[in-house]
C-alpha cells in the first residue's frame, strides 16, 4: 500500500491534529511519522485521548455496520457458503451423533435405572409404563427421573408430534397433546374420589377405624393407628404409622416412625425415618437419617439417599445406598451396593449377596460378621474429572442431545422459539424475570402439590419448569450462535446457529470453577426470555384493552416506562 505524504507541523509538536491521528490509527503514515507520533502520545495525555477516541470511533463504525444486515466477515461468509453446500453432510453427521447419543443414554442410564427400579419393586416392564401408566409418576414422582431419561423421552415425543403435525392440520398435534393430558387428568380423579382427606393440628386414623381407599393426612402430628385399605399420603411434622396399611405409605414429614405393618412400599422425604415395624415390599428413601430397628423388617429392597443410615433389622433383598455414614448390623437377603464416606459392618450382620462399596475410607468389617463374600472396596477418587477422557465423550453426547432437543423445539414451535431468542436480547428484563420465574415457579408448584386438588397442576408445572431449564440453555445458545454467525429469521439457519451456540455454551459451562456460575446465569437469562415470550402470548391485545373502559386505576405511565421488557409506545 502506498504511504500517504502527510507531514506533521514539525518536530516540536504541541498537539496532534485530528487528521494525523486518523491516519496514524489507520496505519497510513510512514514509519518515521508513526514513530514520532508514538513518542509524542506517550507524553501527551490529550493526544492520547484523541487517538483512543478515534480508534474507538473506527471500531464503533465497523461494529454498527456489521451488525446491521448480517454481513459476515468475508472469511466467515465463505465458510458459511461452503457449509451450506455441504449441509446435508453436516446434518447427517449431527443426526448420527445424536442417534448414537440417544442409544448411549438408553444403554448407560435408562436401562440400568430401569432394571434397578424393577429390582426395587416398582414393577413395570419399561420406563414409560413405570412413569405414567402405573401411577408412579403421579404419586411417586420422587422415583428417580433423571434428566437424561426426560430428554430421551421428550425427544421421542417431539419426533412423534412433528410426525403428526406434518401429516395433519395445524394445531392438531397440540390438540392431541391436550387430549392426552385430559385423559390422564380424567384418570386421576377416580383414584382421588375414593380417598379420605383429613386436616388439622392433630390428625388420626383411630385404632378401631378401617378405611377403604387412599388416605391423605395433613397435620402437625399425624397418627395412623387403624387399618387403611389403600395408600396413605402423609404431610406432617411428626408422623407415626402404627396401624396396618395395605398399600403404600408416601410421606413428607420431618419425623416418621413406622411401627405398624405396611403391605406395600414406603416412599418418603423426611428428616428422620425410624422403622420398628414391618414393610412387606420396598423402601425408597430421601432422608437425613434412616434407622431400621432390630425389630424392623423390610421384605423387599432398600434404595436410600440418606446422610446417615443404620440398618439393624432385616432386609429381604438388595440394598442400594448413597450416604455419608452407612452402618449395617442386621440381615440382608441380597447384595449391597453402597457409595459414601464410611461403611461399617458390625458383628451381628449377615449379608447373603456380594458387597460393593465405593468410599473415602476402607470399610470397617467385624470379623464376626457373616458375609457371602469379602467387601469389594473402591476408593472414591476425587481427582479432577477433566482428566478423564470419558468426560469429553459425554460432553459431546450431551451437546448432541441438546441440539436434538432444540431441533425438535424449533420445528414444533418456530415462532415461539424465535420470540424467546429475540427476548433474550432484552438483558435486563430477561435477567430479572428469569430470577423470579426460576425460583417462583417451583415454590408455587410445590404449594399446588400440597393442596391435593392441585397435585396434577403442580407436578405438570414442575415438569415443564424442569424442561425449561434445558430450553433456556438452547435459547441462549441460539443467541450466542447469532452473535457469531449473524442474525437470521429463517428456521433452518436459526437451527444451525443454535447448534453452534450450544456447543459454545456447553464449553463455557464446563470451564472449571466458573462453569457452574456461567450455567446458572445462562439458565436465569434463558428462563427470563422464555417467560417474556409466554407473557407476550398471554397478555391481552391492545384492542381488547380498549374495549374495557375502566381498566386504568393507576395513573398512566410515562411513555418511556418499561413494562415486562417492552417499552410503551
Amino acid at each position: 500500500m502506498r504511504e500517504i505524504d502527510h507531514s506533521l507541523p514539525g518536530d516540536t509538536l504541541e498537539h496532534l491534529d485530528e487528521m494525523t491521528c486518523m491516519l496514524y490509527v489507520e496505519r497510513q503514515l510512514d514509519r518515521t511519522r508513526g514513530q514520532e507520533i508514538s513518542q509524542h502520545v506517550q507524553g501527551c495525555s490529550q493526544c492520547r485521548t484523541l487517538l483512543r477516541a478515534m480508534e474507538r470511533e473506527s471500531r464503533l463504525l465497523t461494529r454498527a455496520m456489521l451488525e446491521e444486515e448480517e454481513p459476515l466477515p468475508s472469511r466467515l461468509a465463505q465458510f458459511q457458503d461452503r457449509a451450506r453446500r455441504s449441509m446435508q453432510w453436516i446434518w447427517g453427521v449431527a443426526l448420527g451423533l445424536a442417534a448414537t447419543g440417544v442409544y448411549a443414554l438408553y444403554t448407560s442410564y435408562v436401562e440400568p435405572w430401569q432394571s434397578q427400579l424393577d429390582q426395587a419393586g416398582f414393577g413395570g416392564s419399561n420406563l414409560l409404563s413405570l412413569l405414567i401408566f402405573q401411577g408412579a409418576f403421579w404419586k411417586g414422582w420422587q422415583s428417580v427421573i433423571t434428566l437424561l431419561e426426560v430428554l430421551a423421552i421428550l425427544t421421542l415425543a417431539g419426533f412423534g408430534l412433528a410426525f403428526f403435525r406434518r401429516r395433519s392440520r395445524r394445531g392438531s398435534a397440540f390438540a392431541l397433546v391436550l387430549a392426552g393430558f385430559c385423559v390422564i387428568a380424567a384418570l386421576v380423579p377416580p383414584a382421588a374420589s375414593a380417598s379420605v382427606t383429613r386436616k388439622g393440628n392433630f390428625v388420626e386414623v383411630k385404632e378401631d377405624e378401617h378405611i377403604k381407599g387412599d388416605v391423605f393426612l395433613f397435620g402437625e402430628r399425624v397418627r395412623v393407628n387403624g387399618t387403611v385399605d389403600g395408600d396413605v399420603f402423609v404431610f406432617s411434622t411428626d408422623a407415626t404409622v402404627s396401624g396396618h396399611v395395605t398399600g403404600d405409605v408416601i410421606a413428607f414429614a420431618q419425623s416418621l416412625h413406622v411401627s405398624g405393618e405396611i403391605d406395600g412400599n414406603i416412599r418418603s422425604f423426611n428428616n428422620n425415618l425410624t422403622i420398628t415395624g414391618t414393610v412387606t415390599r420396598n423402601l425408597l428413601i430421601f432422608d437425613e437419617t434412616l434407622n431400621l430397628d432390630s425389630a424392623g423388617k423390610v421384605g423387599g429392597s432398600v434404595t436410600s439417599f440418606t446422610k446417615s443410615l443404620n440398618l439393624d433389622g432385616n432386609v429381604g433383598r438388595d440394598l442400594l445406598l448413597f450416604g455419608e455414614h452407612i452402618g449395617i448390623a442386621g440381615s440382608v437377603g441380597g447384595g449391597i451396593q453402597a457409595r459414601g464416606r464410611t461403611l461399617s459392618i458390625s458383628s451381628g450382620a449377615q449379608v447373603h449377596g456380594p458387597i460393593s462399596f465405593t468410599g473415602d475410607e476402607p470399610p470397617e468389617v467385624s470379623s464376626q460378621a457373616r458375609l457371602a463374600s469379602p467387601v469389594d472396596f473402591h476408593r472414591a477418587e476425587h481427582k479432577p474429572r477433566y482428566t478423564e477422557g470419558s468426560v469429553y465423550v459425554w460432553q459431546v453426547i450431551w451437546a448432541a442431545a441438546f441440539i436434538l432437543f432444540g431441533l425438535v423445539l424449533f420445528n414444533l414451535m418456530p415462532g415461539f422459539c424465535r420470540e424467546a431468542v429475540a427476548n433474550a436480547e432484552r438483558y435486563g428484563a430477561s435477567g430479572g424475570l428469569g430470577v423470579l420465574v426460576l425460583f417462583g415457579i417451583p415454590i408455587a408448584a410445590i404449594i399446588a402439590c400440597v393442596t391435593v386438588v392441585g397435585l396434577f397442576i403442580g407436578v405438570s408445572t414442575l415438569f415443564i419448569w424442569f424442561e425449561c431449564l434445558h430450553f433456556a440453555q438452547i435459547v441462549v445458545g441460539t443467541l450466542v450462535g447469532q452473535w457469531l454467525l449473524g442474525r437470521t429469521s429463517h428456521v433452518w439457519p436459526l437451527i444451525g446457529r443454535m447448534a453452534v451456540g450450544i456447543v459454545v455454551v456447553r464449553i463455557c459451562t464446563n470451564i472449571p470453577f466458573a462453569g457452574p456460575w456461567i450455567k446458572f446465569f445462562v439458565i436465569v437469562w434463558g428462563f427470563g426470555a422464555i417467560a417474556l415470550a409466554v407473557y407476550r402470548r398471554l397478555e391481552p391485545s391492545s384492542g381488547a384493552a380498549a374495549v374495557v373502559p375502566s381498566q386504568p386505576l393507576m395513573p398512566p405511565l410515562p411513555p418511556t416506562t418499561t413494562v415486562g421488557g417492552a417499552q410503551l409506545a
Partner: protein, 137 residues
C-alpha cells in the same frame, strides 16, 4: 444491466469488490450530475474547507455513549458521498487506493473525505457544538 455492460471492462488482476463499488459509485454520480445537484464534490473544495478540531475528552465520551443502533441511524442521515466513504472503509475494509479509485478522487484526499464524513457523522449524532467547543491546535 449496467453492470453487465461494464463487466467486460473488469480487470481480473484487481479486486472485484473495489471494481464493483467503482461502477456503483460512478453510476450514482452520473445520476446526481444529471439532476444537477452534485456540488462541492471535487477535491479542491474539500481541501479548502477547514475542519473544527474536536475536544478529545468530549469526543471520547461521545463515542463511549453511542450505541451501534444510534450510529446506524446517524449514518442514514449522512450525504451519499460521506456514507459511501465510511462504508467502503469500515465495512468493506477497502484500502485508501481502492476508495480513491471508487470515489474518483486523488488518494491524498481520501483521508479528508473520511474525516469530513466522520464530522458529519458526529454532527448527526447530535454533538457538534460540544465537540467543536474545545480542542487543541
Amino acid at each position: 444491466m449496467k453492470l453487465r455492460e461494464k463487466l467486460i471492462q473488469y480487470d481480473q488482476t484487481r479486486s472485484f469488490s473495489a471494481w464493483l463499488y467503482k461502477v456503483a459509485a460512478n453510476h450514482c454520480w452520473d445520476m446526481l450530475r444529471r439532476r444537477k445537484i452534485r456540488q462541492d464534490k471535487e477535491t479542491d473544495d474539500l481541501e479548502n474547507v477547514p475542519l473544527e478540531h474536536p475536544d478529545p475528552n468530549q469526543l471520547d465520551r461521545l463515542i463511549e455513549q453511542k450505541t451501534s443502533e444510534e450510529v446506524r441511524h446517524a449514518l442514514d442521515k449522512l450525504g451519499a458521498r460521506a456514507r459511501m466513504a465510511l462504508v467502503m472503509r469500515y465495512y468493506s475494509d477497502m484500502s485508501y487506493d481502492e476508495i480513491a479509485d471508487a470515489l474518483g478522487v486523488r488518494r491524498a484526499f481520501v483521508g479528508v473525505v473520511l474525516l469530513r464524513a466522520r464530522h458529519e457523522l458526529r454532527q448527526a449524532l447530535g454533538a457538534t457544538g460540544a465537540l467543536a467547543a474545545g480542542g487543541a491546535s
